[in-house]
Symmetry: D2
Amino acid sequence: MSSFGTLFKVTTYGESHCKSVGCIVDGCPPGLKLTEDDIQPQLTRRRPGQSKLSTPRNEADAVEIQSGTENGVTLGSPIGMIVRNKDHRPGDYSETDLYPRPSHADYTYIQKYGLKSGSGGGRSSARETIGRVAAGAIAEKILQQVNNVEIVAFVSSIGEVSMNRNAQDPTFQNILNTITREQVDGVGPVRCPDDGVRDEMVKVIEKYRDAKDSIGGVVTCVIRNCPIGLGEPCFDKLEAKLAHAMLSLPATKGFEIGSGFLGTQIPGSKHNDPFIHDEKNNRLRTKTNNSGGIQGGISNGENIYFSVAFKSAATISQEQETATYDGKHGVLAARGRHDPSVTPRAVPIVEAMAALVLVDEFMIQQARSATAGLLTK
Amino acid sequence: MSSFGTLFKVTTYGESHCKSVGCIVDGCPPGLKLTEDDIQPQLTRRRPGQSKLSTPRNEADAVEIQSGTENGVTLGSPIGMIVRNKDHRPGDYSETDLYPRPSHADYTYIQKYGLKSGSGGGRSSARETIGRVAAGAIAEKILQQVNNVEIVAFVSSIGEVSMNRNAQDPTFQNILNTITREQVDGVGPVRCPDDGVRDEMVKVIEKYRDAKDSIGGVVTCVIRNCPIGLGEPCFDKLEAKLAHAMLSLPATKGFEIGSGFLGTQIPGSKHNDPFIHDEKNNRLRTKTNNSGGIQGGISNGENIYFSVAFKSAATISQEQETATYDGKHGVLAARGRHDPSVTPRAVPIVEAMAALVLVDEFMIQQARSATAGLLTK
Amino acid sequence: MSSFGTLFKVTTYGESHCKSVGCIVDGCPPGLKLTEDDIQPQLTRRRPGQSKLSTPRNEADAVEIQSGTENGVTLGSPIGMIVRNKDHRPGDYSETDLYPRPSHADYTYIQKYGLKSGSGGGRSSARETIGRVAAGAIAEKILQQVNNVEIVAFVSSIGEVSMNRNAQDPTFQNILNTITREQVDGVGPVRCPDDGVRDEMVKVIEKYRDAKDSIGGVVTCVIRNCPIGLGEPCFDKLEAKLAHAMLSLPATKGFEIGSGFLGTQIPGSKHNDPFIHDEKNNRLRTKTNNSGGIQGGISNGENIYFSVAFKSAATISQEQETATYDGKHGVLAARGRHDPSVTPRAVPIVEAMAALVLVDEFMIQQARSATAGLLTK
Amino acid sequence: MSSFGTLFKVTTYGESHCKSVGCIVDGCPPGLKLTEDDIQPQLTRRRPGQSKLSTPRNEADAVEIQSGTENGVTLGSPIGMIVRNKDHRPGDYSETDLYPRPSHADYTYIQKYGLKSGSGGGRSSARETIGRVAAGAIAEKILQQVNNVEIVAFVSSIGEVSMNRNAQDPTFQNILNTITREQVDGVGPVRCPDDGVRDEMVKVIEKYRDAKDSIGGVVTCVIRNCPIGLGEPCFDKLEAKLAHAMLSLPATKGFEIGSGFLGTQIPGSKHNDPFIHDEKNNRLRTKTNNSGGIQGGISNGENIYFSVAFKSAATISQEQETATYDGKHGVLAARGRHDPSVTPRAVPIVEAMAALVLVDEFMIQQARSATAGLLTK
C-alpha cells in the first residue's frame, strides 16, 4: 500500500504525469513550527537538473502545505502537501507503447494491474519519492528538536569506485562521526565526501553518460544522536524497518547495517563491540561499532550507519535488443536524455526514509516508556 | 510489535526460558489440509544439536496445534500453536547478571524496558524464531498448492569462503534453478550445495569452534514459480517486504536482491534484463535475471533470489574484555558450549520468512485481481 | 488516525478553514471507470445551503482528481482528491477565542493538543467528511458493479417525531426493500420517505430554527444485495466495522443494527430468523430479518439495515450560560446562522461510510475465497 | 481479523471445542506486576454455571501465563495466555449437522468459509471472549495504576424491564458516579444495581427459562477517571472505538454513548453541556454530561458511559420451525439446557473491551504528548 508508519504515518499519491504528487502526514505532534521553508530544501536537493551530471528536466517541485498548520505551527491534524506536476512530456516515452522497458516496471505493472499507464513510468516513477521527501523533512525537524538527531547520507561508491566502508576502518568511522550535509553538497554533484575517490567517480559517471549508458552506486547514511531504545525485539527490529524503508526506494538492490556483508567474515571475538564506561554521560558505550548502532533490533546510542545499493538506471539512451509486448523481437532506444547515475540524487531520499523510520519508532517508544513510568513501583 | 503480515498474519510470543513459545496464525484460508506433520519438519530442521558443528542443547521442539483445524483441515479461524520449553538452564548464563554481553541484546533491552530479564537472552533469543518457522510452514504449504511455489535456502558463504554469487554467473544461476532442500540437507550440516567450497567451510567452522570463537556467513534463498504480480509499487515493494522479513531475524547484517551490491558495478546496458518471448507459456520472460525476479517492486515470474548476511554469533566461550552494567572494566567468559556458526541453522528460518511474505502478498493481490475481474468492462 | 480501511484505505486531511480538504484512496482496483462526475453528486448532496431548512453557507465543493486515473479509468495507484476551501469566514467564530463552545470539540482539542486552532472547529468540522464522501462514492461504484449493491440512507426520526423502525413491522421492512435515493431526495430537504411523519418533522425543525435552537434525529440506512460472507468472526464483525464507521461521524450518539435496542425485548423464539428455501436462487434465506442481514458478524445476504443517532447540533444562535477558557462564568452567543438540524445532511455521509466498510470487507473476503479456491481438494 | 489495538494489541485464538483458547497481548509496558491472580477474577466472573439463572456447564477456565512475565513482573515482551478447554460435549449439538441454527453463525460461516465446523458454534462461540477478558484484565490494571481509572458495567435492562437510562436523570447519573463491581455482583446473578427493577428482571428471566425461551437485555458501563484527551478527531473517535469493541461482542445489536438515541430528542439548548470552573482541580468541567464524557471524539474527563444491547440468545430449547442445510422444512430443538439470558454474563466482557480500547488510546496519546513536550517552544 502507499502508507508508511504507525503513529507518524505518511501516505503518498501521484505518478509521473498526473496533476500533482503529494502526501498526507498523519500523526505529527502539535506545536511544531513548520512552513514550506522547512520542507523545500530537501525537495530541492532531490531535484534533477542540477548539474551536467544529471538529467536536464527542470522540475520546480514547489511544495504547498494544504492543512495541518496554522500560523506556521502544526495543529496535530493531518498535514496535506501537494507538489504540482509541471513538466509533462509523455511524448518522450512513446516507444514504450510497444516495448516494455527492460528492467523497468512496465511489464510487471501491466501484469499486476491488467492495464497500461500511458504516461512514462506511472507510480514507479521517481516522482513518487517527492511525497516521501516532504514527509521526511517534517520527521527530521522533530528528531532534531527532541534529541538533536543528525542524519547525513552520501555517495560511497559509483560503479567499481568505492570508499573504504569497512566498519573497522578508522577513516570511515571518522567520516561517519563528522560528515555534514554542507560537506556532502559542497563537493559537487557526485556527493561523495572522500577526496581520494571523488574525481574518479565523476569520470566514471561521465564515461557512462557519454556511452549513453548508466552506472549504479551505493549511498551510505549515518544517524547521529539517535535516542537509545528505539526498535522492537522481533519483527520490527530497527534495522528491519530501515531495510524495509530503503528497499522500498526505486532501483535499490541491497541494504547493509553496520559491518554488513563484510562483517560476516570477522570472527565474533573481533566483531563483538566491547562495552566501556562513558565518563561524560555516565553510561555504557561500545568501544567499537561493528553493530552499526543497533543491537538486538534496538538502538544503543552509537552512530547508526547503513548502506543502500542502487542499481544502474534502467532507462538508457542506447539501443537495447528486447521484445515488444506481443513478443516480437526488436530494438528499443529511449528518447530524451537520461541520468547516467541516479545515486547522488538518492541522498536526500535515503535521509527522508531514515527520518520516517526513526520518528515513528521514537513515538512508539515514547508511548511505552511514558506509560511504564506511570506504573506503580 | 510481534505481528507480521496483513491478511495472513502471524503473531509470536515467548522468550528463551518461559513456559512455551508459540504463535497465532490469523487469516489462513479454510480448507487446507494441515496437521502437526506439516509443521514439524521445518522445526526439526532449525533445531540445534543436530551435529558436532552445532550446539549440543537438545530441544525437542514438538509443536501442538491448539485451534483452527478440525479433522486435519483448517477452519479459517486462527491457528494457535505452542512449543513447550524443556531445556531450561538459566545457570549457564549467570555471569550475565553482572555483564551485558557484548553485541548481544542485554544492554539495549535494559535501556529500552528499564528492567532485566533474568533468563538468558529473553525475547531476542533464537527460540523466538520457532513461531515464525511454524507459521512459515503453513504459508509454504499454501504456496505450494496455489502455484507450486518452491522455496529453497542454503549457505552460500562462511567467513571468507564463498560460492560465486554473481548474478551473471551461469553456475550460480543453475544452482538457483535446480537446488532442492534434500540436496541442501544431504551435504551435511553446513548446508552449502557447492562441492567446491563446502569442505573448506567446514574447516573454517571447526577452526573457530576450536578457538572458542564464532564466524558468520551468508544464506542465499531462491523462490521458484512465484506468481507474477506480487508486491506493491511504493512502500511495500516485494523486495522491501523481504528485506524487512530477513533483517528481522536475529544476527542479520545485510540483504541483497538479485544482483545486489555487486550489481551496482554493472552498467545498465548489461544489467538490464532484455525481454524474450517464452513460447511454452506464451508470455514474455527475461533473458537474464539480474533483477532477481522483481521489477518495480513486483514479481515478474522469474526466480526470486536474495542473500542474507549473518554476523558471527555474539556468544563465544573465550574471554572478552568489556564492562559490567555499572561501568567497571572486567573480563566475561560465557559458560557452556556455543554454536560457532549459526548460519546453517538459519536456512529454514529464512525459508519461513520468505513464505510469510509471499503468502501475504499473494492474498492481497488476489483481493485486488478478483475484485478487478468483477468490474464492468 | 486519519485512515480507514485495510485493503481499500482512505486517508483524509483538512480542517474547516485551511487551503483544501481531501483524501487519498489507496487500494482501488484498476480498471474502474471513474471521473469527477462519479464523485460530485454525493458531495453535492452533502452540501449545506440547499434549502431554507439548512445553513446558508454556500460551498461549491468541486472535487478535483489529482492522480490514480488516466483517460477516465483507475490505474490501481492511489487516487488523490482535493476540494478547495472557498468560504473562509473565521470572523464568525471569533467569540470562541474566549469560550470553548459547549458540547463542541474546542475544549477537548486544546486539552489533547495543547494548542487552539484559531479557525472554527478545526479538524472536528463537518468539512472533514468531504474526503469520506468522495472516497465513499468510489467504493459505492465498485460495489454496484461487483454485486449490484444498493445503499440508501434516509431520515427516520427528527426529535420525537419518528417512523416506526420496529424490525418486525411490515411497512418498515417494505420501505427497506424499495426505497431509492431519488425518493429520499424527492420529498424535500428533510429526506424522510414516510409521508405520515415528514410534514411534522419539517415543523419540528422550523420550530427549533425559529427558537435559535437545534434538534437531533436518526438516519436509517439499508444495504441491498450485499454479498454473503462479508465480515469476520471476532473483532471485525461486519456490524462492528459499521458501528465504528458511523460513530466516527461528527455528532453521533448511537448505532443499532437490525432489531437494535428494541430487539432486546423480543424473546428468542420470535427474534430468531427461521430459514426457508429460496427457490429462485436455490439457497437458504431467512423468513424474517431481525438480524439485520448479519449473523455471527458475517453478512447473510438479507438486507443490512442500521440506524445512527445524531444529537442536536452543538452550535446554536441563542445565548448559552457557560464558562470561558480561564474559568469565568459568562454568556456565549454564536454569531451567524446555523443549521437547526444536521441530520438530513448526514444521509450521504452515512452512505459513504457504509460503502467504505463494505468494499474493504468485500476485498478481504475475495482474498480469502480466491486463495481457498486454489487449494488442493 | 483476530487482533485488536494498535500499541496494546490483543490477538485471540480458539473455538468452543478445540484444545485451548487464549491470546497474545503484545505491547504491554514493562514493569507491571502481573500474575494469574490479576486475571482470573474477571475470567471467573464471565464463567457460566454460576447460578440457577444461567447454563449449568461448568467451565473452570484457569488461565496460564506462558510468557512475558518473570518473577511476577511484565518484561515488555508479548504475554501468551492459554485456557484449556475441558468440557467438550459436541454431542449436544449434533442436530446442527442437519440444521443451521436460526440467528446463529452456522449458515454464514459455511457460506464464508465453505466448510462446516463439526463442533458447536466454532469461532463464534462465547468461549472466544475468554482471550478478550484475560487481555482486558491486564489493560485494566494498567489503567488503574496510571490514572486510577474505574470501569464498572452492569445490567440496565432485561426484556422490557429497564432502569431509567435518561442522561438527564439524577438517579441514573448518581449510579454512574458511585456504582462498584462489588455492588453489581452483590445483588445476585442478574447484576442490576437498581433495587426497583431487579426483582422484576429475575422474574422475566425465569419466565423465559421456564418457557425454554430466551430474552435480551442491555448492559451499561461507566468509566470513571478517564484521562482527558484520549481518542482521535476523525475515524478513531473514542466512541467509534468503543462502538467497534462492543459490537464485536457476540449477540450485540446496538450501542449508545451518553444521551444516546434518546438524546436525539433533546434540543441543543438543553443537550449542550455548559462549562463550569472546577475549583478543586482548577480546570473546566461540564455542568451536565449528556455527552457521555466524550466531545469531538476525545475524552473530556467526565464519566464516560455507554450502553450495549444484547439480543435474546439464539440457542433455545423449544422447537423451531426452520429449514435444513439442503433446504427442507423441518423442526429443530436444541438439546441441553441453555442460558435464558446471556446479558448478565456479558458484564465483565464489556468491561474488558472498554479497558482494551482505553489503554490503547492512552498509550497512543502518551506518544503524541510526550513527543510534543520535547519540541522546541
